[in-house]
């Protein structure tokens, strides 16, 4: 057990790292509600990048529209806050133009899977070396609590006031089916796991997805009686089933659970590399 003093020291180191990566001249506080899970994801991203030793100039963060998509604006990297659903094709342009850049996409369940669904599956298929961090809070937060493609059946939102009659997407399974080569799911309760998973995703060559399940207590939690941020984090803790254990469980047993951990980590040829081979074979202006 760590003493109180040691814990304080570790916390201070963590916040020192955070401060190094926050954007100078940007006005705070953030747009996020107090207790929002987006901050935990931002911290995990910063620590992963710090651990990998990337320079600030080689990192580009791209996002769409929504609460999660405001994240890049607060960090001291090149940041591209784009239009709703289009972060992945913008990121594709940046990465393909300058493949040495580390391109990270921050997106949400509505941004990536509804309006941006087509781009999402094609970025997976192309296996372009981009890391997408999809913060899944099961609802549209920025516009005030409407149902999203991950809103579970029967769940309440302002546009499903009598319970959701639709089925929901499973973002990680969708990414695996579409051709992504690294996929992992974690939650804002499991921050050390998230940090490690983002590190692995960034190191992975090819399209990687980290699905970070997060709390929108303001809308999803309130409308579905899940309580305050602490109660929602405890719920994520209880719902989480490590992938290794989930393998031996039946679909009925997994109902309402969140399978966490690295779900897929395979190697396939990467888009920019393959295109470079074409250039090398046909280039005539050398």
């Amino acid at each position: 057990m760590a003493t109180v003093k040691e814990t304080d020291k570790a916390e201070k180191q963590k916040s020192d790292v955070m401060l190094q990566y926050l954007r100078p001249k940007k006005k705070f506080p953030s747009v996020w509600c107090a207790g929002c899970g987006n901050g935990a994801v931002m911290g995990a991203i910063i620590r992963a990048i710090d651990k990998l030793g990337y320079t600030k100039d080689e990192v580009v963060m791209v996002s769409g529209i929504g609460c999660s998509s405001r994240l890049p604006v607060y960090l001291d990297f090149s940041s591209l806050h784009t239009t709703h659903g289009r972060a992945l094709p913008y990121a594709t342009g940046v990465k393909f133009a300058k493949p040495h850049l580390k391109v990270i996409v921050i997106t949400g369940d509505g941004d990536a899977l509804a309006i941006g669904g087509n781009h999402f599956i094609h970025a997976c298929r192309r296996n372009i070396d981009i890391t997408a961090i999809l913060i899944n809070n099961f609802i549209y937060g920025m516009t005030g609590g409407q149902g999203s493609p991950t809103t579970p059946s029967q769940a309440f939102s302002t546009t499903t006031p009598y319970g959701n009659v639709e089925k929901h997407f499973n973002p990680s399974e969708l990414a695996m089916a579409a051709g992504a080569t690294f996929v992992g799911r974690t939650t804002v309760y499991h921050v050390p796991q998230m940090e490690k998973m983002i590190t692995q995703a960034l190191e992975h060559k090819g399209f990687s997805l980290v699905e970070a399940v997060s709390n929108c207590h303001t809308y999803f939690g309130r409308l579905n009686r899940q309580g305050d941020p602490v109660a929602m984090l405890k719920m994520f803790k209880e719902q989480a089933v490590p992938a290794a254990r989930a393998k031996n469980m039946t679909p009925e047993e997994l109902e309402g659970k969140l399978v966490t951990g690295v779900l897929l980590d395979i190697e396939k040829t990467e888009f920019c590399d393959e295109y470079q081979k074409v250039v090398d074979a046909h280039r005539g202006d050398k």
């Binding site: 954007r23 100078p24 001249k25 940007k26 006005k27 600030k56 100039d57 080689e58 580009v60 791209v62 890049p72 604006v73 001291d76 990297f77 090149s78 940041s79 591209l80 806050h81 784009t82 239009t83 289009r86 094709p89 913008y90 990121a91 594709t92 342009g93 940046v94 393909f96 133009a97 300058k98 040495h100 850049l101 087509n118 781009h119 094609h122 295109y275 074409v278 250039v279 074979a281 046909h282 280039r283 005539g284 202006d285």
Partner: protein, 378 residues
């Protein structure tokens, strides 16, 4: 140069050669008739010079990818037709707002909706000006020959880089699918303008600052200047603002950086206008028919001239008014139900007789049709 190599070339492919001459090194697009040869040409040519080609999942992805690539530092373009352009307009607005140079080819085919994919049209002229939502000022150019497909493409890239803004090249299917003999210029024959890059210290860089010529130096991502780009209304640092004192200066900048330097954008060709009492005003393929009609009418002693607009937007108000100052009548010819004529009416009001000849059945206007109109007007 007498022995310079001549090529028989398709209009769409001349655009590709013009773009490469101008330094374009990134293309993203989606197949659509009658623009597809632009994409095919880029797929073939770009790897040979170390450029990048990508076929995206749709036109929205295409415009997004080229804006991303331009911000990463490469001159970028896409090519489409009306339906694809309609899908792109939201993100073309993003390029206006973020002041990102890109070039978009619209090989027009008429509409609304799917229209006539294999037929010519000039019915997206107003869309190029007003397509996306919000307030902004647009630049659009229109070639009328295959050689001009090449030269106007170079000019489109120069304007995009000079003004940090998207530029539309409006082709009609007639030009895009014509084959004509052209000359590919030697290096140095045409000016190629590259965007101005910052030279200040990174900590002093304000990516959207007001400058004397309205255009802020633009750093590519990864070049040591870390900054924020957003489609939200932003201050000179690129940070979101709702402050009225910052909002209107930003929107003023989008307009003034172009309109204060309008003379740099204007390009028109005038023939036999010195003593003309009647003038044809047209652009794109119609200008060729107009020139032919004027030459024939002159032989019959009619004092008629022609004005071809290469720059459609911003509309060359002052220059057109000067050139047509002696004319009592003008005839505006277009392959649509009357779009640029609205601008002509705005300038000339009731001071001149304004006549129109329009075709929107998929066929092009012939010199004989223009002569018949001239006869009727005289």
């Amino acid at each position: 140069m007498a022995n310079k190599k001549r090529h028989l070339m398709l209009g769409n492919l001349a655009c590709v050669h013009g773009a490469i001459y101008a330094g374009m090194r990134f293309f993203a697009g989606y197949p659509i008739t009658p623009s597809t040869e632009v994409a095919e040409g880029c797929a073939r040519e770009l790897p040979k010079i170390g450029g990048k080609f990508i076929q995206m999942e749709d036109e929205i992805g295409s415009i997004a990818a080229i804006i991303g690539a331009s911000i990463a530092g490469l001159k970028s373009m896409t090519a489409t037709s009306g339906p694809g352009y309609s899908l792109m307009v939201e993100n073309i607005g993003y390029a206006y707002m973020t002041e990102t140079p890109v070039v978009i080819f619209n090989v027009q085919r008429g509409g609304p909706s799917t229209g006539m994919p294999t037929k010519g049209s000039q019915s997206d002229t107003m869309q190029a000006r007003w397509g996306t939502h919000g307030d902004y000022t647009a630049i659009a150019v229109a070639p009328s020959t295959v050689q001009e497909c090449l030269t106007e493409t170079i000019r489109a890239f120069n304007l995009a880089e000079r003004f940090r803004t998207p530029v539309a090249v409006l082709l009609d299917e007639v030009i895009a699918h014509s084959r004509e003999m052209i000359t590919i210029p030697e290096k140095g024959e045409y000016e190629v303008f590259d965007r101005v890059k910052p030279t200040c210290k990174p900590e002093d860089y304000a990516p959207f600052e007001m400058t004397p010529n309205g255009v802020s130096p633009m750093a590519g991502f990864g070049e040591g200047y870390r900054y924020n780009v957003t489609g939200l209304t932003h201050d000179p640092m690129g940070f979101t603002t709702n402050n009225p004192a910052e909002v209107s200066p930003k929107l003023d900048k989008l307009r003034n950086k172009i309109l204060d330097y309008r003379d740099e954008t204007v390009k028109m060709r005038t023939e036999m206008m010195d003593d003309a009492e009647v003038a044809f005003i047209s652009y794109g393929s119609v200008s060729r028919a107009a020139l032919q009609a004027v030459m024939l009418a002159r032989k019959a002693g009619v004092k008629v001239g022609t004005v071809q607009l290469y720059t459609i937007w911003p509309f060359p108000e002052k220059q057109l008014a000067e050139i047509c100052s002696r004319c009592k009548k003008v005839i505006v010819g277009e392959l649509n139900m009357g779009q640029i004529v609205l601008e002509v009416e705005r300038i000339f009001g009731k001071e001149k007789e304004i006549h129109t000849i329009q075709r929107y059945d998929g066929e092009f206007l012939t010199p004989m049709q223009l002569l018949e109109k001239l006869d009727e007007v005289l």
